[in-house]
C-alpha cells in the first residue's frame, strides 16, 4: 500500500484551475521532488494534502485512510508534517520550545502531575528534552537551542522548521522550498541533513524546490507541474531532457544546446 495517494484531485479558485486531475503516489521511504515554474500549483498541492484547502474533486489517502477535508491538526496526527514556503516558525519562542510544540501530541496529558511537578512528570520531561535536543542535533541547531527562533539566520530558520516537523514524528515529510534563501554552503549541508534524516527515520519525503541542482541530486523521482497539471513524471535524468519540462521553464523549446 502506498504511503500517500492522491487520485484525480482538482481545486478551482474563482474560475482559475489551481490543480486539475492531479494523481500521485508516494511509498514509505521514498524521496520525491515536486517541481514546476512559478504559479504551477505546487504549494497548492501541499495545502490540499495538509487540509488547508479541501479538493473540489478527488481523493487523498494516507496509508489507505481518506484524509481529504479533515482539519489540519488531524492530518498532522495521521503522520504528515510539513514546512512552509514563507517560514512560519513561532518567532518569539526559543528554538527548543519550537520543537517541543512539534512534539505536543506525544506529551502525556497529566494535569495533576504538571501542577505539582511530580517525579514522573520530571522524568517524562527529561526524556522529551533529550528527544528534542536529539532532533535539533540532527539539524545542527543544538547549540542555539535557547535562543529565540526569530533571531536565527534564514538558513537556520528553514532547518528549524524541519526539526519542528520531525518532532511530530511523521511518516511523511513535506518540504516546501527548504533551500530557498540559503547560500551554497548551507545547501550542501541541508542536502546532507535530509539524506541523514531519511536514512535514520525511514520517512517518505516530498520536496518542492527551485534549486534544480539540489533536486536532481537528491530525488529518486520527480513530478513536474505546470498550470496545475502534471506534465512529466520520471527520474531526474529523464526530466532534465524532457521537452515539455524545458518548454515550461524556458518558454519555447530550445533549438539546441551549444
Amino acid at each position: 500500500m502506498a504511503l500517500l495517494e492522491l487520485t484525480d484531485c482538482s481545486l478551482t479558485f474563482g474560475g482559475l484551475k489551481a490543480v486539475s486531475a492531479f494523481s500521485f503516489t508516494l511509498d514509505a521511504g521514498q524521496l520525491v521532488g515536486l517541481i514546476g515554474p512559478n504559479g504551477a500549483g505546487k504549494t497548492t498541492v501541499f495545502n490540499l494534502i495538509t487540509g488547508v484547502y479541501r479538493p473540489d474533486r478527488g481523493e487523498i489517502r494516507m496509508q489507505g485512510q481518506s484524509i481529504a477535508g479533515l482539519p489540519t491538526f488531524r492530518i498532522n496526527r495521521s503522520g504528515i508534517a510539513r514546512t512552509f514556503q514563507g517560514i512560519r516558525l513561532f518567532p518569539n519562542m526559543s528554538v527548543l520550545d519550537n520543537v517541543v510544540v512539534g512534539a505536543n501530541q506525544h506529551i502525556a496529558r497529566a494535569p495533576v502531575a504538571m501542577l505539582f511537578r511530580t517525579a514522573a512528570f520530571a522524568r517524562h520531561n527529561a526524556e522529551l528534552h533529550a528527544q528534542c535536543m536529539a532532533t535539533l542535533t540532527l539539524l545542527g541547531l543544538a547549540a542555539r537551542a535557547h535562543e529565540a527562533a526569530g533571531t536565527l539566520s534564514y538558513g537556520e530558520q528553514r532547518r528549524l522548521e524541519i526539526a519542528r516537523a520531525l518532532a511530530t514524528r511523521p511518516k511523511l515529510l513535506l518540504l516546501d522550498e527548504p533551500a530557498a534563501g540559503m547560500n551554497p554552503q548551507e545547501k550542501v549541508e541541508l542536502m546532507e541533513q535530509i539524506r541523514l534524516i531519511r536514512e535514520k527515520l525511514q520517512l517518505g519525503i516530498l520536496i518542492i524546490e527551485h534549486d534544480m541542482k539540489l533536486i536532481m541530486k537528491m530525488c529518486e523521482r520527480i513530478t513536474v507541474l505546470d498550470h496545475g497539471e502534471t506534465i512529466a513524471v520520471g527520474k531526474p535524468e529523464q526530466i532534465q531532457i524532457d521537452e515539455r519540462v524545458i518548454k515550461a521553464y524556458l518558454g519555447e523549446p530550445v533549438a539546441h544546446d551549444s
Partner: protein, 235 residues
C-alpha cells in the same frame, strides 16, 4: 534613464539583494531573468518604492535619487510597475481599474485617449469594460494590469512576470503587445522566469542568482548561453 548602483535590500534575516547594479536606457527592453527566489521581484519593488533599500541608490534620468520616495511620488515621475500576479482590483470593474491607472492625470481628453489606446491594444477589455475584473480570466487580468499601468503614460514600465500561470498562446499575445508598447516609445524593464520568451524580445538582459547579478549581455547572446540553462535546470 534608470541607473541602479550597488543596491542592497533586506527582509528581516534575508539579504534578498546583495549589491545589484544595472542600467536601463531610454527606448530599450531590458529583461531580468533568474530562478524563483533570486530577487527579481524584490528589485522591481525597490525601484517602485514598495521596499526601502538598506543601501545603494536608484537614479532616475541620471539625476533624481528616488530610493526614498513614496510609491505614488515615483509614479508621478513616470515609472509604472505592473506587479507580480496581476493584482487587478477584483472588486472594481475593468473600466474603473483603467481609471485608477490614470489617477494622477487631470486632463479628461487625455484619459479618454488613453482608454481608447488600451482598447486598441487589448480589444477584449472593451467588451468586458463593465465587468468586475475579478471575473476575468488570468490572461485578461494580465492584459488589464498592463493596460492600467499604461494609463499613467509611463516612460518606464516595470513588468513583473507577465507570463505567470498563463497558457502559451496567451503569453505570446502578451509578449507581442509588450513589443508594440515598446515600439510606441515606452521603455520596458521586464522580469521573467520564462527566459526564452523574454530574451527573444529584449535588447539586453541580466541574470540574477541569489541576490546578485551573475551575467549581463545582449538578449541574443544570453539566449544561447549555457549558464542560463544551468541557472534554470541545474546542470
Amino acid at each position: 534613464m534608470l541607473t541602479i548602483r550597488n543596491l542592497h535590500v533586506r527582509y528581516g534575516a534575508v539579504h534578498a539583494l546583495q549589491g545589484v547594479s544595472l542600467t536601463v536606457a531610454a527606448g530599450e527592453i531590458v529583461t531580468l531573468i533568474g530562478s524563483n527566489g533570486a530577487g527579481k521581484s524584490t528589485l522591481l519593488r525597490a525601484i517602485s518604492g514598495l521596499h526601502r533599500p538598506s543601501a545603494g541608490e536608484i537614479l532616475w534620468k541620471g539625476a533624481a535619487q528616488i530610493e526614498t520616495l513614496a510609491p505614488h511620488r515615483i509614479v508621478a515621475l513616470g515609472l509604472c510597475h505592473v506587479p507580480e500576479g496581476r493584482q487587478v482590483f477584483a472588486n472594481l470593474t475593468v473600466r474603473e481599474n483603467l481609471d485608477l491607472g490614470a489617477y494622477q492625470r487631470k486632463d479628461k481628453a487625455e484619459i479618454r485617449e488613453g482608454i481608447e489606446r488600451a482598447y486598441t491594444l487589448f480589444p477584449i477589455l472593451k467588451e468586458r469594460q463593465q465587468q468586475l475584473s475579478g471575473t476575468l480570466s488570468g490572461g485578461e487580468q494580465q492584459m488589464l494590469a498592463i493596460a492600467r499601468a499604461l494609463m499613467a503614460r509611463p516612460e518606464l514600465l516595470l513588468l513583473d512576470e507577465p507570463s505567470l500561470g498563463l497558457a502559451p498562446l496567451v503569453v505570446q499575445t502578451i509578449f507581442k503587445v509588450i513589443q508594440e508598447i515598446n515600439a510606441q516609445g515606452t521603455t520596458i524593464l521586464l522580469v521573467e522566469q520564462n527566459a526564452h520568451m523574454a530574451l527573444r524580445i529584449a535588447q539586453r538582459g541580466y541574470v540574477l542568482q541569489t541576490g546578485k547579478i551573475v551575467l549581463e549581455d545582449s538578449g541574443k547572446n544570453l539566449l544561447n548561453s549555457p549558464e542560463v540553462r544551468a541557472a534554470y535546470l541545474g546542470d
